[in-house]
């Protein structure tokens, strides 16, 4: 038979069904014979019941939608098969079904070879992430959080949302008008996306401070699923320009951005 102190010590675990059968039985026996412990348990049980009925904070619908879209973008970026020209855009329902299949497929594959993917080259991984982010921005018709051709509207919008101030300049007179700005996330943190257009083509210019570990030759180019990515470092800031423009056009865009920013 347990004494009161021992019983009280295990009451919480008893309440949570975390005790083995032997200890559970001993606690039960003590509770049956001890009014004080029984009262203590009643209070604990009432508290536990009350805690369990406190409703969860409801998930905002906008967040659910945003994450749903973002994951669809991720899954599609993995698939490498979905054309993104507006005319050829697949129906939403079909995309959802495909994404579900992909996630299931990844799960089955993962069951066989479960390991964290650690790409050898961080630059490749970053390029992959910004291209995925670019595709996502086209897919979910969520190109810009702040849609404006006015750099004096877009630039202040980033204030307080990031711990750095991305340069925002309208290059309309160079043939690259500003479309807006967006906050995005890479694996290692938030990033500013400044959105431009060249005729019908969208360019996402991703900007964040360069980290000390970013080494090698710049500019770097990458290409994935018909999208080109050009990355460079200037004045302690790392840039990625992503678009379906040709590498030459992207190069031209980079030169324009570079000239506008003091080195």
């Amino acid at each position: 038979m347990r004494n009161c102190d021992e019983t009280r010590q295990w009451l919480d675990a008893y309440l949570d069904n975390e005790l083995d059968p032997v200890n559970t039985l001993e606690i039960e026996q003590h509770l049956q014979t001890c009014p004080a412990c029984s009262q203590a348990y009643e209070e604990l049980r009432a508290l536990g019941a009350a805690l369990s009925t406190v409703p969860r904070y409801p998930t905002p619908a906008a967040l659910r939608e945003r994450i749903h879209s973002a994951l669809l973008g991720e899954a599609s970026a993995e698939a490498q098969t979905i054309p993104f020209a507006p005319a050829a855009r697949p129906s939403w329902r079909w995309v959802t079904a495909l994404a579900a299949m992909l996630v299931l497929g990844a799960m089955l594959a993962g069951a066989l070879l479960f390991s964290r993917h650690q790409p050898a080259d961080p630059n490749q991984m970053l390029a992959r992430e910004v291209i995925a982010s670019h595709i996502r921005s086209l897919m979910v018709s969520h190109l810009a959080d702040v849609a404006s051709t006015d750099q004096h509207t877009v630039k202040p919008w980033f204030d307080g949302k990031l711990n750095f101030a991305p340069p925002v300049v309208d290059f309309a007179r160079n043939g690259f008008p500003l479309v807006g700005g967006r906050l995005d996330y890479l694996t290692d943190g938030p990033i500013a996306a400044v959105v431009y257009r060249r005729d019908k083509h969208v360019i996402n210019l991703f900007v964040r401070p360069a980290t000390g570990t970013e080494q090698g030759k710049f500019p770097k180019t990458a290409s994935r699923q018909g999208y080109n990515c050009l990355s460079w470092i200037q004045a302690g800031t790392r840039y990625w320009a992503v678009s379906d423009l040709t590498p030459a056009e992207l190069q031209q865009f980079m030169e324009i951005v570079r000239r506008s920013t003091p080195s």
Binding site: L11, D12, A13, D16, E18, E43, L44, A46, L47, G48, A50, L51, S52, T53, V54, R56, Y57, P58, T59, P60, L63, R64, R66, I67, H68, A70, L71, E74, A75, E78, L102, V103, A106, M107, A109, G110, A111, F114, R116, H117, E129, Y185, T187, G189, P190
Partner: protein, 167 residues
């Protein structure tokens, strides 16, 4: 494998950060991080994995902007609401919407590691083992955190009433 656990993820982030917008940022970042890190697969317990990432992301954020809430003295926050009930036994203390507010406020005033254990246990129904995995501590620590958290809640709710009577 993220969407089915989104409610649990947001709820935990909301409790830990204390702010809707912070919680949304945390969940969005954590979801993408989880998806990319595991290519959509998190092993046998997807929920625990996602909640682990949510938790770590939330603590990173809290570390960055040491929130105002943490500087609020333990007793002060609750004092305004705590006396609302007439009787100090938990059963009557916790009944009804007003008491739910009390309880919610009391949980909010607890230290982070107590709060997260309570939320994971009572709102998500997780086992000690799962909570231990998420919080990165031994299961014995989970047990003692839950016991201490509940003891503090009981004291807290009872104390609010005594003070009301005294004043």
């Amino acid at each position: 494998m993220i969407l089915p656990h989104l409610d649990a993820a947001y709820n935990l982030a909301r409790w830990l950060t204390g702010h809707d917008q912070d919680a949304q940022d945390v969940v969005q970042e954590a979801s993408l991080r989880a998806f990319r890190a595991f290519d959509g697969f998190y092993g046998e317990n997807g929920r625990a994995w996602l909640l682990t990432i949510v938790r770590n992301t939330a603590y990173n954020l809290l570390q960055k902007n040491k929130s105002l809430r943490q500087t609020t003295p333990f007793d002060e926050e609750l004092h305004g609401n705590a006396g609302a009930s007439e009787c100090a036994t938990p059963l009557s203390l916790l009944r009804g919407a007003e008491d739910e507010q009390n309880l919610r406020a009391a949980v909010e005033a607890l230290p982070d590691e107590f709060r997260e254990a309570l939320v994971l246990r009572h709102q998500d129904g997780l086992s000690y083992r799962e909570i231990a995995l998420i919080a990165g501590v031994p299961t014995g620590t989970v047990m003692s955190r839950l016991a201490r958290a509940r003891a503090r809640l009981k004291d807290f709710l009872a104390k609010g009433n005594r003070e009301e009577e005294a004043s």
